[in-house]
Symmetry: C2
Subunit: 393 residues, 2 copies
């Protein structure tokens, strides 16, 4: 399953930040160049039909669908994840008109919380965003809840919610669910259909390696699609976009969740990135990530026993990253980066490492541990000269 | 002002559809390849800071600002035009809470109408979209109107509204304005500040040549920016995006209208495309487009007297395109395309030709007229064998 040759990774770098931005797939360069020269340049406006640009949103959606346990015809691609969260929330609220609560986790990714706040303010219908610690969510699932909005895998700790159980519980009180799959898609097996999830959205620039600012995807359960009147009623979601009719008529199913003109160059890069997943068993990929994560955790903790591990131990309850807290976390991450081991830091004190078995193996993890040992044993992160030289601020 | 060498145009093609999709700027290919290899590939996650990806939305906004008569610091780039129209409408409604009418033109671009319809439905606050013929708009500007939403240049006829007069009249009754500049930006001098326009949005893939699905831009008058609570409250618009705070706090001014992660590859292409405008006098460019349009109109009408010209004669009242109606319009456009003259068709019967003096001169127009004469004199569009051969459906 190691497909390191599929990526253009800098020599000597151990890249543990694919959970933030996946690396460059070699094929993406040629794919984008082709989209520019042979399509945009040569076909000009005809590219919309002849190069299939107009079909990209749904065609790429159908490529992503099997990675997230969704049926063909239920996923579309375009816009940004923030927009997709907004769209999913608005859809859910419109389907539960009598209910006023959006239930979420207090530590959810901020943009999800912000989009909910912006929607609630604008609607002015008395909705509230109830953000609770994960442990309090089950008890808070009452018949006041319109939608339970959760990010399946926490962007800091890597803790993973039980999508099947929480969706079932939400449905038990008549609530809908909106799952943010930013840290799930391409990292672990997601089963939207089996879990009976209502709405889901995710980005494609993390584990799917679609490139910086790659478009988002959106899933709606087919029965919801057919009755949702989209708040973001874009021309691309119209039943007949090229009729240029004055009144909005939603397209069938997922089509109505398309919004604006597709970003063709980003789509071409994403298309090439998805080639890498052809034939990859996502469950096996995730199992391998768990092994790598444990190897890294054991090694790092041996080197620096006062790291506090934030990621749960149960493989079923975590994504493909490992996170620690440490008061000197920021400086440590900077020093590691200077040593060619790229992880990242999240305020206030979190060191975060993504494990991506498509381009990482046990040898890489051992190298990362060795370099971490150099950082810690030399207290490199605490040495003013080292900090100055390596711009550790 | 002719900069044909800046574009990678197919040999022998007369491209009269730059009002739909601008052609490939030669520099864009290298710029995107660099963004992929030297930035995404080599810098990986550090590209957000080291390559300036995070600053792209505002930096590109500042490059577009002078083309639309806006001050530095007032324009940002990202998302799609449909999303930007939604954002502008919601902002305007929030600033005029007592008023229920969105006034627009019946022939406005459908996505603008659809986004208004979606917003109105979702708000459920009794707003109405009043879509009237252009001539009836001044009389309909009453103190019920929250916002006047117009596309400055009509996508079919090319007729141009008087932004200064209509904005002043809207302000006279306490209404705000939202201008769609899709067919204005890069084509003609726009004076947002001088006209005292409230909000504006536009796309960058037409006259600005940013590429298929290039991101949109958004302008808000600075005094509105400071008091608007955005409906689309994305993380990139937060006052401190990397603090990952749980509550939304809008960034200063235009920053709050940023939404999701910027599409870095599309931004790189757009950046290179904007280089072409360095040193270009937009008023002179537009004057030249008017001359070319008149040349084309005169020639085409001489060849086919039953073309009905839809574009106004007054140069101040039109954009950089010329449009005709003809019952055989669709077949004529297809036959012209088969002859290498690329214009486009808009239902029900409109032939549409964009005049873009950056890569078109009088000789090109004369060639287009000659080929149109061949089409008409040979009744090529009416010849079944020709139609079959050239896939004229």
């Amino acid at each position: 399953m190691l497909r390191r040759d599929a990526f253009d990774l800098p020599e000597g770098v151990i890249y543990l930040d694919g959970n933030s931005l996946g690396p460059l797939p070699r094929r993406a360069e040629a794919a984008v160049a082709r989209a520019m020269q042979a399509e945009w340049g040569a076909m000009l406006i005809r590219g919309w039909n002849e190069a299939g640009w107009m079909d990209q949103p749904d065609r790429l959606g159908d490529r992503i669908a099997p990675l997230i346990g969704a049926a063909p015809g239920t996923v579309t691609v375009g816009e940004t994840l923030s927009i997709r969260v907004f769209q999913g929330l608005a859809a859910a609220l419109s389907l539960r008109p009598g209910r006023k609560v959006i239930l979420t986790e207090a530590g959810n990714f901020p943009s999800d919380l912000y989009m909910a706040q912006g929607l609630i303010d604008a609607l002015g219908q008395g909705h509230v965003l109830r953000a609770l610690p994960a442990t309090e969510i089950p008890a808070a699932l009452t018949d006041e809840v319109a939608v339970l909005m959760l990010t399946e895998v926490d962007y800091r700790s890597g803790a993973r919610h039980d999508m099947a159980a929480l969706t079932a519980q939400a449905h038990g009180v008549g609530a809908l669910t909106l799952w943010d799959l930013a840290h799930s898609a391409g990292a672990l097996p997601v089963a939207l259909t089996r879990c009976n999830a209502d709405f889901a959205a995710g980005c494609t620039y993390k584990y799917l390696n679609g490139g910086p600012g790659a478009p988002a995807f959106f899933y709606a359960r087919p029965d919801h699609s057919e009755i949702t009147r989209p708040i973001l009623a874009g021309w691309l979601g119209h039943a007949a976009p090229f009729d240029f009719a004055p009144d909005y008529a939603p397209g069938p199913g997922r089509a109505r969740f398309r919004i604006g003109t597709p970003p063709v160059l980003q789509m071409a890069a994403l298309d090439a990135a998805l080639d890498i997943f052809d034939g990859v068993d996502i469950a096996a990929l995730h199992a391998r990530a768990i092994v790598l994560a444990d190897r890294l955790a054991t090694g790092f903790e041996a080197v620096c026993p006062d790291l506090r591990r934030l990621t749960p131990m149960d493989p079923a309850r975590r994504g493909s990253q490992i996170a620690f807290a440490h008061p000197n976390g920021y400086a440590m991450v900077q020093a590691l980066i200077a040593q060619g081991v790229i992880g990242d830091f999240r305020a206030p004190d979190i060191l975060r490492f993504g494990l991506t078995p498509l381009y990482l193996d046990a040898g890489d993890i051992d190298t990362a541990i060795e370099r971490f040992a150099q950082v810690i044993e030399g207290r490199l992160w605490d040495d003013p000269a080292y900090r100055t030289r390596n711009k550790v601020t």
